[in-house]
Amino acid sequence: MRFGVVIFPGSNCEQDVIGACRYLGLDAEFVWHGDTDLSRFDAVVLPGGFSYGDYIRTGAVARFSPVMAEVVRFAEKGGPVLGICNGFQILAEAHLLPGALLRNRGLKFICKTVDLRVDGSCDWLDLPLGTVLQVPINHNEGNYTCDAETLARLNGSGQVVLRYCEPDGSAAENGSAPNGAFDDIAGVCNERGNVFGLMPHPERVVDPLGGGTDGQPFFTTVVQKLAEVAG
């Protein structure tokens, strides 16, 4: 079981992901954005950062990196792919996930710990629905958007895995998303459940030194799922 963590020019959270994996005793190594071979990996993570300076749109250029063609193939074969923050933006640009990430409502870069409610499951997270997790966010473009038809489809198939919420798990009247995200959406998966993208940074709350451990299931779940498949 080996995680591949892709580094694009401008990624800056790749060390955090590797650190989280190693803290949990998981084998993880870097993949350069120019690499075209993912065959040695069982799971692939696109970390946070500012790939290609966020030029044109966040993730718009990274999406055409040589490695991304392989990530698409890996995902199409059912391989688990996780996109965190900028990684989520790249997966949305690559159309591996529905919707898009716009600039935060209020135009402020937001860096704080938020409450997230589990509203669905995927290969990367499978907790009882309604579980509230505390995970930090750290972004300028996390304002998730999609059309109403897509939202209905996502809700119908349980693809909205995480929503921003109040500490008790409820939704505030005017929404709980600090960035203005549509329907408080913080993380979505594809129909098959193997590709998952979220704006919050679970890798930062794996080692308790980071202020919590709510990020651990994001890495341990996929290991269990892969073991079951191999089982």
Binding site: I56, F64, A100, L102, G106, L107, N143
Partner: protein, 77 residues
Amino acid sequence: MARYEIFVTYKAGIFDPPGATAERALANLGYEGVEQVKIGKYVQLSGEVDLSAVTEMCEKLLANPVIEDFRIETVEE
């Protein structure tokens, strides 16, 4: 050599945070009657490329069809 001007704007119904902020700022400056401000991108592109190629460039990279519309004006054939 052909020259193009490309205008990229959010699709109707997509919230435009900078546009909404500009709207409020203009009201704060005392300008009355502004109903809507939409902020988009303007691209100048030139080279030995035809319109169909530029259209493809917009669909792939310069705009995101999920959230944006684009309009191409040919300045010079």
